[in-house]
Amino acid sequence: TIHLPQKLFGEVTSPLYPKPYPNNLETTTVITVPTGYRVKLAFWHFDLEPSESCLYDYVKISADKKTLGRFCGQMGSPLGNPPGEKEFISQGNKMLLTFHTDFSNEENGTIMFYKGFLAYYQAVDLDECASQSNSLEESLQPRCQHLCHNYIGGYFCSCRPGYELQNDGHSCQVECSSELYTEPSGYISSLEYPQPYPADLRCNYSIRVERGLTLHLKFLEPFEIDDHQQVHCPYDQLQIYANGRNIGEFCGKQKPADLDTSSNSVDLLFFTDESGDSRGWKLHYTTEVIKCPQPKTLDQFTIIQNLQPQYQFRDYYIATCKQGYQLVEENQALLSFTAVCQDDGTWHRAMPRCKIKDCGQPQHLRNGDFNYTTTEGVNTYEARIQYYCHEPYYKMHIKDGSSESERGTYTCTAQGLWKNEKAGEKLPRCLPVCGKPVNPVEQKQR
């Protein structure tokens, strides 16, 4: 017996190949590949003495305690039983190749020479999960109690939601006390749904999605939780909490109406007693982006910049005022205003108002005064006044090309300041008029 070193591929030949093999020989070559792999073998060259039922010389392939075939003859010849292009695959990671020769190789008294064989083997991944079904057929223990996952060179087991894989890596036990769902949508059901749920459950299904999303729950048919006609959910019950607030307790056969939780955090608690045969429940949860109400101005002077058709969490809008108006929030003047849509669908601050700019009482003009050319006493945006000097003792100082009327006209501007078109905020000056006595000396007597 020849044990080949464990490799992922290799060749096996008859002794002396490609020279004729010797007589009276029996060797067994053991091909082993790493665990988790199977052995696949094919002949590239085959030249053995043909015989009925391959009684003289032959190659026998066996694996998994089974003979996969006994072969003799030559490739393409009808004599004997050549393997042709057939591939041999083991279930396990070991394959045996037995080569047997008798005392002579003659044909009609003529000594014949046969070269023997050249076979090539390679390790191929064993789908342990697939073999599980084969095992079932043979009444063997399945590899995984619930779900089996193959990978190259091995496999692992997992359990259905609500169950926990045990230390043996194979079996599953009920464990639904902290099921967490974070995908934006999905299905949640009681264990074994639509088959009857197990007894004595204390299940907690938590759905946590991003802030700014709201969860919708839609129950599917069938909905069946042990119930009592007079007492509300005495046996089994499904409780639903949104943001820690109880929004319902359900049992019976009437599925709950669709629920809009207005929350991104929902917990489903499912309690069962020791008995019952109800089929349980299943729901489809979906998420929707939370929207804030469309911002509406409180007056005709407020402007919302780049108004969007809708606003959702983290969106914001900027409010400004028309020229001559001032943003006001609770009687407090603002330089700017931004409101952000919060994760509960409300705006983080209320819409401001725009109040008309008030320039205040116009400054007193030394040695002069002013008149309103717009409404008397109104000092708001676009109000206008006319300053004048106390003549004849004072005269307004004006520069070339201007007039007292122009120089004395002040308008309440959008900045809330009284301004002259040319001089800005600077007030005109009333200069003394010299050399103009009202009652000059006069001499009549000549």
Binding site: R366, K399, V433, C434, K436, P437, P440, V441
Partner: protein, 242 residues
Amino acid sequence: IIGGKVAKMGNFPWQAFTSIYGRGGGALLGDRWILTAAHTLYPKDHDMTHNASVDVFLGHVNISDIQKLSNHPVRRVIIHPDYQQEDSNNFDADIALLELENSVTLGPNLLPICLPDSNTFYEYGHMGYVSGFGIMKNRLSDDLKFVHLPVAKRRLCEKWLRDKRRKDVFSQNMFCAGDPTLKQDSCQGDSGGVFAVREEDTDRWVATGIVSWGIGCGGGYGFYTNVFNYVDWIKKEIGEED
């Protein structure tokens, strides 16, 4: 004022009454400057061991009434740098400015006088008015008086001084007014008041001179500081803006 008449309210609304080392006059410029003679603040031949208080009154033609209208505090006194107090025979640059602490409110009895913008006011015979609360014959006047005087010929004034063998300087910054035949003149206590001329074209009154000095009163000519020569200095000091 010798040989003058009593002024009525509003005749000379620029007239200031000053009380410093004695009675004096001045004229309102703008609404917070008083034009006066330097010697009313720094008199010639005077012991200056102590500074006199500067009291300025405006707005009336009667001494009692003008004083009732309250004193206008002075913030700053500006004497022309060329004025030489120690030279008793030289009243050159006898000009000064008083800056009032507060601007005054103008009205019919309180108005400023203009500064000259031409030399033509100093031609011989050009008539002007001199007013003041100064000596009237041998007594002080309680009422503002005025006289109507012509600008005199410079040559005659120089000769008049020479004949009197006076060493007093009659500089180019002075002019003389009056006439030995008129019996009208300014006198002690009128110093600092102005020689006011009515400009025909513009119908405005211009201060062409400041009562400065003379030899006696009413017997010849009076000598006045030529304001036109100091207009630039005045404007610089009062910081007149455009």
